[in-house]
Assembly symmetry: C2
Homo-oligomer: 331 residues x 2
């Protein structure tokens, strides 16, 4: 009996904030695999802010979307993979995926960590935070740091790594619940709820000694606020600019750019592939921090492929704390 | 008989474009020098875009201004300096200056170069272009380069260094006369007169292969235009943002910042002191290029200290080609 697959297609390109109607759940049979191929039953898939620009340009209309996922090999006609292997793969937004082995990374999970950790704090998410802060932001011990969307998947890890480096860390977030988590659990020095405090005023008050590093996930008014507070030779590591993603044309006006020259600021956009050489060091450091209980992480897990559109919409509205995941089948 | 000095004071802080009435010519006696001091008769002084922000905050009201100058020692009670020595010094905006030796750099000019070259192409101006392009912009041979205010003191040198490195070089300037000089003398590949062509459209048309390096002297709409054309891993070396200097509050809106993340762009503000280790290499390279006739440079020289305010106002209105200097006495 042929297996049935369910996958998410992009039905139309969102104007502004995505809506669940922009996506379509499609059922289709899973074809038989051929020589060299494997069949993956996905366990979890990731929903990331960086997917939003691809909804506008990147993802094909009426095709299955893609994104980070973790699955188990359920059939293999490829000598490199055996049934039962866990593989990280870029074939999210579907319950079953067929692959020829390229882009799959076998995972040997440690028993004392949940599998989802490999999709968040120990995965590309944690690595993005680590490299963005240390390599792009060139963080030095004891500096003044601001992280926007600090309760988000990447932000929450970046903020805590900065704390581990002895920095004074300010975070911004959009709810009192998330602010409380950042203060009480993640241990940030100051937290700004940007929905109740104007961000520029909030940053000025929370960082009286200015900022040496700004880890930017937001752009727009957050970047403006950070620029106004940057110290000489400050660095802005731009991981994302979510504030612009949902504006038609993605044109976010920023006004304080003259500070780039006055304070000799370095602003740099990046993706994790810019510093792949750090991956082994990241794995070592992060496993050590996790074992020592020095990094807290949160996940927001929705259940079932049909929830993937809600996960995307909710992510854009800040409904998640930490990594936004969709569980696609039981472990 | 006591020597008479003439110097320029800041009389009021300009709102927007500076006017000659913002400055005051003041006559005062030159005091006798004391042990350890020297008396300098200034020959040339520099007028730079970077002085504009200091008119708003930096220079003291009703005090003599300061800036780069080249002068000759006419009296010395300091063993390190002899009468007749030429010294570069930071004591512009006055005919005579008294110094204790700190901040003075003796100059041994080569006979085949005019003294003014040491105030422009072989001075801080040329060095700023050199380090900004090579160290901050990380220019690689053969790249696609855009230089704004390319007929200005720094821009004209940066554009020609990029040409010497085998790059395709686009420049912007504000008059047909300057555009013709850039094309016909400086050898740029394409020139945009931003007063007759919208800059974004101009850059798109002049740089069909995008931009790898943007040497920014302007900010604002020029930075916006460059960001819209930047290639992946492009670099923006921010030497100045003159477009914002004359706007109250220096707030220039830029809209295309989301490209920082999409193209992983690096934007970095700098001053020449950020790369002082390159100075010897710069001197060697630039002398070689000048001897080989590979770099053209222009100067706009006004005559007499009373013209210094006009030099500042004219600079802000783009009346200069190349370095803006004021001759303070005959060589």
């Amino acid at each position: 009996m042929a297996l049935k697959n369910r996958e998410i297609h992009l039905a139309r390109r969102p104007e502004g904030l995505p809506a669940v109607e922009d996506f379509r759940l499609v059922e289709c049979p899973v074809p038989d695999i051929e020589d060299g191929q494997v069949l993956i039953r996905q366990l979890y898939m990731s929903v990331d802010p960086a997917m939003r620009p691809r909804l506008t340009a990147g993802y094909e209309l009426d095709h299955v979307m893609a994104g980070g996922a973790l699955g188990r090999i359920v059939q293999s006609r490829n000598g490199d993979f055996a049934e039962g292997d866990l593989v990280r793969n870029p074939l999210g937004f579907r319950e079953y995926a067929i692959a020829d082995g390229r882009g799959l990374a076998k995972l040997a999970p440690e028993p004392d960590l949940p599998l989802t950790a490999y999709m968040s704090v120990l995965g590309g998410t944690g690595f993005t935070a680590y490299g963005g802060l240390l390599e792009i932001g060139k963080l030095k011990d004891g500096e003044q740091v601001f992280v926007s969307t600090a309760a988000g998947a990447v932000g929450s890890i970046a903020a805590q790594i900065a704390k581990l480096k002895g920095c004074y860390v300010v975070g911004s977030t959009g709810s009192d619940e998330k602010a409380a988590w950042l203060r009480d659990e993640a241990g940030l020095d100051a937290v700004i709820n940007y929905k109740t405090t104007p961000i520029r005023q909030g940053v000025k008050a929370a960082a009286p000694n200015g900022l040496d590093v700004y880890f930017d996930n937001v752009g727009g008014d957050h970047l403006d606020a950070a620029l106004a507070s940057m110290n000489t030779l400050g660095r802005v590591a731009v991981c994302g600019m979510i504030s612009g993603y949902n504006q038609p044309g993605s044109r976010t006006a920023v006004h304080n750019l003259s500070n780039i020259i006055y304070a000799r600021i370095n602003i740099r956009g990046f993706v994790a592939t810019d510093f792949m050489h750090l991956r082994p060091q990241f794995e070592t450091d992060m496993r050590g921090w996790l074992k020592a209980g020095k990094i807290k992480w949160r996940e927001t897990v929705l259940d079932g492929i049909a929830e993937a559109p809600h996960a995307m919409v909710g992510l854009m509205q800040g409904e998640n704390i930490g990594k936004m995941l969709v569980r696609l089948s039981a472990e």
